[in-house]
């Protein structure tokens, strides 16, 4: 307990980041030592560290104030944030093994025992990363992967950015919600969080539009497979690693997601409370994403993508990399395709994800969904024309050779059934 106090102190000194902490610990061994030595010794020892200037030394010296640290401790308790350090029992062993592991982690969410989640024998953890400006295809793939993994009890880690990251999280949350029998998406969005603080935030349509299908469109088999409520521990947990303090939601478009993860998953960060999102912090947090996971899936990435930083960390840490292949010539898939060329695993199927990821059939699936959707001939024809890349009406008319008005009718009907979605004006993508 006393140790926790000193760790909290050393992790919360202004302008002192992970690397500096390491240097300080190299000299003093433990944070406690650094706290209790006399000011003279501290100053003389600190000044030996390369790159340390008078200003920072002053800050460190002044920060040795027990009252201030206790106040901080109070604040953490108030905000429901748990602080763990690298010697805590809850600190994931997997993370401990990486280079430059973070000394302190701030955790907010439904489960405090991070180690139990990450290192538990039965658990696997997979991260889903990718571009922020993704295509509907990428979003769909990330969502499906997140869902499939979570239903099989695999934890899903990502960075809570817009695009692929967000879709991955939502996918995993969906599995979680399915278990609790809450539908998110469609026209029914459960009001789970308190939105008072950020009234103007609306959930982006692309995340929520694709799950809820009215029962009458699904064949009987599926309904009988409906999940039983109350066994939420079965589903994998989603973990968001932030590049800002855990009390700051960035980007703000993901506020609903942030709230949802807090209810049903874990939000973690190595940065103290109130740290603003700065550009340099995001590549840094990628090492935690890869460090927590056993496998890394890259869904969509351009040739030069931030996701490839995660991949590099992952390779350094000896994790397996998988990529979702794309079409040749699609710039958003060029990064993934190159990874495959360089030896990354190829995901060809979201259904047999455990086999694909070579994780073995550890968890028999508790939640199943059946995709046997029976459609009329005309609807089927139009539906078959639409895929994961946006298709314009003109294209569908040409492909099917049907009358314009018929196509319009079928498109609207399919939309009403929730099988396709209008991504932008008159461009349609599959959601199912």
């Amino acid at each position: 307990m006393e140790e926790d106090f000193y760790w909290l102190w050393i992790c919360n000194i202004d302008k002192v980041w992970n690397a500096t902490i390491r240097r300080i610990l190299n000299i003093f061994g433990t944070p406690r030592e650094a706290f209790i030595v006399s000011e003279k010794v501290l100053r003389s020892e600190l000044s030996k560290i390369a790159g340390m200037n008078e200003k920072v030394i002053n800050i460190i010296v002044q920060s040795r104030n027990r009252e201030a640290v206790w106040r901080l401790h109070e604040k953490l308790n108030q905000k429901g944030v748990r602080f763990i350090h690298c010697e805590s029992r809850e600190y994931p062993i997997k993370l401990r093994h990486i280079n430059h592991y973070p000394y302190g982690l701030y955790i907010k969410g439904c489960i405090a025992d991070l180690s139990g989640v990450i290192d538990g024998e039965k658990r696997h953890t997979v991260s889903i990363v990718g571009a922020r400006n993704c295509t509907a295809y990428g979003r769909k793939m990330a969502g499906d992967l997140g869902y499939e993994l979570a239903t099989k009890g695999v934890n899903v880690v990502s960075g809570m950015a817009v695009g692929i990251d967000g879709a991955g999280h939502w996918g995993a949350l969906r599995a979680c919600h399915m278990q609790k029998n809450i539908h998110i998406g469609g026209s029914v969005v459960g009001k789970i969080c308190d939105m008072q603080e950020y009234k103007n935030v609306k959930v982006p349509n692309e995340y929520i539009s694709n799950e809820y299908i009215p029962n009458e469109y699904i064949s009987d088999e599926c309904i009988s497979n409906e999940c039983t409520p109350g066994k939420s521990t079965e589903a994998g947990i989603t973990i968001a690693v932030l590049g800002s303090g855990v009390d700051i939601c960035y980007p703000i478009q993901n506020f609903e997601l942030y709230q949802n993860i807090m209810q049903n998953g874990i939000v973690i960060s190595e940065y103290p409370l109130g740290t603003k999102p700065m550009a340099w912090q995001f590549p840094q947090r990628n090492r935690i994403i890869s460090g927590l996971s056993d496998r890394i899936i890259v869904v969509e990435a351009r040739e030069k993508s931030g996701s490839l930083i995660t991949v590099e960390y992952g390779l350094e840490q000896g994790k397996d990399i998988y990529a979702v292949p794309g079409r040749i010539g699609d710039s958003l898939s060029s990064g993934c395709n190159r990874l495959i060329q360089e030896g990354a695993g190829i995901l060809t199927n979201t259904e047999n994800i455990m086999r694909e990821l070579e994780l073995g059939e550890l968890y028999p699936c508790k939640i199943s969904k059946n995709k046997n959707i029976v459609l009329e001939k005309d609807l089927e024809l139009v539906y078959s024309c639409v895929d994961y890349f946006p298709k314009s009406v003109e294209y569908i008319i040409e492909e099917t050779g049907m009358e314009m008005t018929q196509v319009y009718r079928n498109i609207i009907t399919l939309q009403l059934m929730g099988l396709i979605d209008e991504q932008t004006k008159n461009h349609y993508v599959r959601t199912w």
Binding site: R132, N133, C134, T135, A136, V162, G163, S187, P204, E206, P251, Q253, G329, D330, S331, L332, P390, S392, V393, E394, Y395, I397, M404, T405, Q406, Y408, R409, I411, I412, T413, Q415, L416, G418, E422, Q423, T424, K425, N426, H427
Partner: protein, 518 residues
């Protein structure tokens, strides 16, 4: 005694007055021009709340009179333009002032101008130049029962639209003076003879209606968009087209006036009058086709809806009875777009000045075009690198209230080279014509887009199946009540285009695909 009185008579003011006209907003009004020469130091004064271009008429008139070989009387000349409390603008007063002076000088006989309205600008050499607003001025003269109008020769075609008034079109002041000194009074003249007599051959006035050089057949593919255009025109629904650059949005828009129902004679006069006032009427006289106005996106509010101390009609009034095409809609200034809200709703522009209010007609079909995002290629992620937030930001440049007044939106996709063109302008015009006829019979002359809620309930009855369908859609697409009404109106128009009495699911589906996305 007698000699003394005569002497006095000569010294008493010599006075005459001439009728002229000017434009107030878009309304013509009569201006009486009074000229007076009294004894005193040589002086030329003009009064009557004059703008500087009217004040400058003094110099032009002086030179013109000198250059046709006349000499101004060496006395105190006063010109008054009445009503004296209205600000006078424009150059049309040069000629009547000159004529008034010539009458005062007794070079011309003032009696012969008693029932004559005179407008025209003068050059220093006495040339009569064309002026704006001839058509409404001549029409006003006709309504007031005036017999003759003297107008510039270059404006003769415009003036000749009104056939109950005799037009005299001269090229120069010299010609006019010669004509009036040589022609004995009482000889009735008619315009065509007059023109041939005075200034050579008349032009052929009544040209047959020219077929437009452009046709919808010129456009590759885009059948869905053409269909949407037919619906938009038929029901007078404002239309927003979005699409990547270079797929033919502007081409499509510029052809829309061709498929609109032809203008009636009154409408032609109304539209031509507005163009005449703005000096934009081409030489052929009446406007035959519907106007098409496509202002650049840097336009100011005043230029779009009209403005100025004495308001001048803006582009939206120039598009009256035609099409107002706003290309690159998000690039327009926010406040400019917002100023369109009232005119689009009420179909007229109201401008208020401390000297009075002005109402300009603005019954136009709004057609707007935009790219889906800043670079123009969204959702093609190979070319578009805009983030979702960028796309949203770009689209949100158009304010909600304006979007509310746009009824339909359609995507203009990229087309293949070999795409064939099916619908021609003639076919589309026919489709529109039939739909409009149906509407007129049913709605009592109203467009579908301007139906009231009550009328909607009467004319847009749905059967059970359709009712159920639209209810589902209402929930699924999270529509507003206004959006729902728009869909109903558009469905009504689609049914009209299809010559169907009732609205069915097909019509509703089509209307739903045209609904606005953001």
């Amino acid at each position: 005694m007698k000699g003394k009185s005569l002497q006095r008579e000569e010294r008493i003011a010599i006075y005459c007055y001439i009728k002229s006209a000017s434009i107030w907003g878009i309304e013509p009004y009569v201006v009486d021009i009074e000229a007076d020469v009294s004894s005193g130091l040589p002086y030329f004064n003009m009064v009557g709340l004059l703008a500087s271009e009217v004040r400058e008429a003094r110099e032009r008139v002086r030179s013109a009179i000198k250059n046709i070989g006349e000499t101004l009387p060496s006395g105190r000349i006063t010109i008054n333009l009445s009503p004296a409390d209205r600000k006078k603008e424009g150059t049309a007063f040069d000629l009547p002032i000159a004529i008034a002076l010539l009458c005062v000088m007794q070079r011309l006989d003032a009696k012969r101008f008693k029932d004559t309205l005179i407008v025209g600008e003068l050059g220093l050499d006495g040339e009569i130049k064309k002026v704006r607003g001839i058509l409404p001025i001549v029409a006003m003269a006709q309504n007031l029962g005036l017999k003759k109008c003297i107008i510039p020769y270059d404006n003769r075609q415009e003036g000749s639209v009104c056939d109950k008034v005799t037009l005299l079109a001269f090229q120069s002041l010299k010609e006019l003076v010669d004509y009036y000194t040589e022609q004995p009074e009482g000889m009735s003249v008619n315009y065509l003879r007059e023109v041939s007599l005075v200034s050579g051959k008349p032009d052929n006035l009544l040209q047959p209606e020219r077929e437009s050089e452009q046709d919808f057949l010129d456009i590759c593919g885009q059948e869905t968009v053409k269909r949407a255009i037919v619906v938009a025109v038929a029901g007078h629904h404002n239309l927003l087209m979005s699409g990547v650059p270079g797929v033919g949005k502007s081409m499509l828009a510029s052809r829309i006036p061709d498929i609109m129902p032809p203008l009636s004679l009154e409408e032609k006069l109304e539209v031509s009058g507005i163009y005449s006032i703005c000096g934009k009427l081409n030489a052929s006289g009446l406007m035959e086709g519907r106007p098409f106005s496509a202002p650049h996106h840097t336009i100011t509010t005043a230029a779009l809806i009209g403005g100025g101390i004495i308001p001048v009609p803006g582009e939206i009034t120039l598009a009256h009875r035609g099409v107002l095409f706003l290309d690159e809609l998000p690039e327009f200034h926010q406040n400019v777009l917002d100023s369109l809200r009232q005119p689009l709703e009420e179909r007229e522009v109201k401008l208020h000045r401390n000297k009075g209010s002005y109402i300009f007609p603005a019954d136009c079909l709004l057609v707007a075009a935009m790219n889906p995002c800043k670079c123009g290629y969204y959702p093609d992620r190979n070319r578009c690198h805009c983030s979702e937030a960028d796309v949203k930001r770009y689209q949100s440049r158009i304010s909600g209230p304006l979007l509310d007044r746009i009824d339909m939106s359609i995507e203009v996709p990229r087309v293949k080279m070999e795409a064939s063109s099916v619908l021609s302008t003639a076919q589309m015009r026919e489709m529109v014509h039939r739909a409009v006829e149906r509407q007129k019979d049913r709605n009592g002359g109203k467009n579908n887009s301007s139906l009231s809620i009550k009328e909607l309930q009467n004319y847009c009855e749905l059967d059970e199946e359709s009712e159920d369908f639209i209810r589902q859609a209402y929930e699924k697409f999270e529509m507003s009540m206004r959006g729902y009404h728009k869909v109903l109106k558009i469905a009504r128009t689609v049914a009209d285009v299809e010559q169907s009495e009732n609205i069915n699911i097909n019509h509703l589906s089509e209307a739903l695909t045209y609904r606005l996305m953001f």
